[in-house]
C-alpha cells in the first residue's frame, strides 16, 4: 500500500515537474508562434476597429481606403465582417469571411449597386488586400501548420523566429523571420525572403498600445521592396469583448450593415 502511495507521489511529481520547469525552459518556435498568433489575431472573444489605409506607390502617388472591421472568434475559427467607407467606388461594400483553420475560407462580397452577394472563390490568400501591400493573410492570419517554426535568436527585447513553408512552392516566400516582442508576443517586424535569400518584403508594427488589457497594434506598415510601394494601416476605435451577435456575420448583414458599423463616426 505504502509502495503504491509513494509511487503515486513520484508519478505526480514527474507529471508536474515539466510544467513547473517551463518557466526556465526556452519556448520553442512552435510555441512562440502560437502565442503570437493568439495575441495578434485572437485578442478577446471578439473585437472591432476602424482602419485607415494609405497606399503609397514608388512614384509618390497615394490612395486611401477606410473601413471598419468586426471580428468574432468561434473556437479556433473566426469570422470577419469588413465594411468599406471610402473611396467612393467601394463605399458601402461589405466583405464577409468565415476563416476555417482546417480548410478553405468562405468569403462573400456584397456589391450594393447590384444588391448582389457574390461568393468569392477561396483563392490565393497571399494576394493583395484591396490593392494594398498587405495580403489577405496579413489581415486574418496565416495557418500555423503551413510552416515550420524555429527559434533562431533571442535578444533582450525579441524572440526571432524563422518560418519556412512545409510545401516550398505553395507561397512566394522561402522563409520569413519574425521579431516577437518578449513580453507581448506581438510581431514587431517580419522579413520575407525569396528562394535566393533576398529580402523583398517587410511588415512592421510601428505603434502598439494596451487596450482593455490587450496589446494592440495601432499602426502597421507593409513594404514591397521590389516595387517600392508601401502601405500604412492606422487603427482607431479599437474595442474588445463587445458581445457581437453571431448573426452579424451572416448574409443578412451583408445587405444591411449592422448598427455596430453604421453608428460609428
Amino acid at each position: 500500500m505504502k509502495k503504491i502511495f509513494l509511487s503515486t507521489i513520484a508519478l505526480s511529481l514527474l507529471l508536474i515537474s515539466p510544467i513547473m520547469g517551463n518557466e526556465e525552459k526556452e519556448l520553442t518556435g512552435d510555441e512562440l508562434m502560437s502565442k503570437s498568433n493568439q495575441a495578434f489575431y485572437y485578442a478577446g472573444k471578439d473585437g472591432s476597429s476602424d482602419v485607415e489605409m494609405t497606399i503609397r506607390d514608388a512614384q509618390g502617388g497615394t490612395r486611401t481606403r477606410s473601413m471598419t472591421i468586426l471580428r468574432r472568434n468561434e473556437g479556433e475559427n473566426q469570422k470577419y465582417y469588413v465594411y468599406f467607407r471610402s473611396p467612393a467606388d467601394v463605399r458601402r461594400m461589405a466583405y464577409l469571411v468565415w476563416k476555417n483553420v482546417k480548410g478553405d475560407d468562405d468569403r462573400w462580397l456584397f456589391l450594393p449597386a447590384l444588391n448582389l452577394e457574390r461568393r468569392i472563390a477561396p483563392g490565393d490568400k497571399r494576394t493583395s488586400f484591396v490593392g494594398s501591400d498587405f495580403f489577405y493573410e496579413d489581415v486574418s492570419g496565416r495557418n500555423l501548420t503551413d510552416d515550420t517554426h524555429e527559434l533562431v535568436e533571442t535578444t533582450d527585447e525579441y524572440y526571432v523566429v524563422s518560418n519556412k513553408p512545409k510545401v516550398p512552392n505553395s507561397v512566394e516566400f522561402a522563409e520569413y523571420k519574425v521579431w516577437l516582442d518578449k513580453t507581448t508576443f506581438i510581431p514587431m517586424r517580419s522579413e520575407y525572403y525569396d528562394k535566393n535569400g533576398k529580402l523583398y518584403r517587410t511588415v512592421e508594427s510601428k505603434k502598439v498600445e494596451e487596450i482593455d488589457g490587450y496589446y494592440t497594434v495601432m499602426e502597421a506598415v507593409a513594404s514591397d521592396l521590389i516595387t517600392g510601394s508601401s502601405t500604412v494601416n492606422s487603427f482607431s476605435n479599437v474595442r474588445y469583448n463587445l458581445d457581437l451577435n453571431a448573426n452579424i456575420f451572416s448574409q443578412r448583414f451583408l445587405r444591411r450593415p449592422p448598427r455596430e458599423v453604421t453608428s460609428r463616426k
Binding site: R63, T64, A88, A113, E117, A121, G123, G131, Q251, R256
Partner: protein, 423 residues
Amino acid sequence: MKRFFILIMCVTSAAYLGAIDLGGFDIHGFIDVRGGLRTNSDPHERDASLGEIRLQLFNETFTEIGTFAGRIDFIYDGVLDSSHIDLEQGLGPIDLREANALFSPLDSLDIKVGRQILTWGVGDMLFINDLFPKDWNALFSGRDSDYLKAPSDAILLSWFPGFVDVDLVYTPLFDRDRFISGNRLSYWNPMLGRRAGRDAISEPERRHDWFGDDEVALRLRRMIGTYELAVYSYRGYWKNPEGFDPVANRARYPRLMAHGASLRGALAGGVLSLETGYYDSKDDRRGRDPFTPNSQQRYLIGYERELMRDLQAGMQYYVEIMENYNRYRSTLPEGMNAKDEARHVLTFRLTKLAMNQNLSLSFFAFWSPSDHDAYIRPTVEYKATDDWVIGTGANIFVGRDKDSFFGQFEKNNNIYASVRWNF
C-alpha cells in the same frame, strides 16, 4: 399631365436633397461621361450607340427609426434625346434608382419599402429564379455593369427565424424588364420578319392594374454547412414581351409562375453554383398557343476559381428546355422560324487585376452552340486615382441567323469609352 409629373419629380427631388443637405448628411455619387459607336452601320439606328452625361446622387441615412436611401441619376442623353421621363423604362433625363426605407420592427424582421434594386440566384449574368427587372439596353450598349439591374417598386419582407432566411417580395404593379424596344438597339421583329429599330419601336400591351397585375417572389434560404441552399417561387409575368396578341397586333406579357432551387458553395478550391427552375407559362400550359411561350425547364451549373494570383476564371453551362415541343411545332404558323427544343448556352469569364488592382481586364463571352450565336464583352477599367476611373469596352454579337437570341443584335456591335469622377 407629363409636365406636371416632371414638375412633381423635380420638386420632390429638390425637397429631398434640401432635406438631406439641411441635416448635414453625406451626399455621394459620380459624374459619368460615356460614348459608344456602332462598328457597323445599322439602317434602323443611329451610329452612336451611347452618348450621355450622368450625374448620380446617393444618400443613405441611418437613424434610430430606420435606414433611408435615395439614389437618383440625372442624365443628358444625346442618342435618345427624349425629354419624356419614364421611370419604369429608365428613359428621359431622370432615372430614380433607389428611394426606400428599411425598418426592423422585430429583431428577426427587416422590411424595405420603396424603389429598390433586388437580386438573387447564383448565376453570373444568367438568371433563372431572379425575376426582378433587368436593363438589357444598359448591358448591351456599354453602361457600367451596375446598370444591368433595374429598380423595382416593391415591399421586401425579410424574416430570420434562425433555421431559415425568408425573403418575400411584393410588387403591386408588374415591373417589366427594360427591354430592347428598338429605340437604341435594333432587334428581330417576328411580325415584320426582319430586324427593326427606330422604324418599329415595340410598344407591348401594358399591364396597368395596381394590385391586379402584381408580382410575388419568395425565397427560402439556409446554410447547409458552408453551402447555401435556396428554394424560390414566383408569380407574375414573363419579364420580356414574349407573347403576342394577334387581334391587337401587339406584343404582350403573358402570365408566368416559376419555381426553383439553387445551391452554392466551395468545391476544390473554387465556387460551384447550381440552379434550376421550372417556368410554368400559365397562359399556355398545354403549349397549343403559338403566340405564347411554352413552359420551360431551366438548368445552370457554374464553376469559378482563381487560376493564378489576381486572375479569376469562371465557366457556366445553361440550358432551357421547352415543354410540349411537338405541339409548338404543329401550331407554329407557316413561314415562322421554329426555335429549338433546347437552347444551350456556355459562358466564360476571365478577370485579370493588375497594377495594384487598379487595372481590371475582363472578358465575358456567351456562346450558344444550339443557336449558333455568341455575345462577347471585353472590358478594361483603370482607376487613375481614388476618384477618377476611365474605362473602355465592346459589345460584340455574332450569329448565323438573324432571329436568334444574340444573333438578332448583330447590327448593334459597339465600342465605348467612359470617364467617371466619384465624389
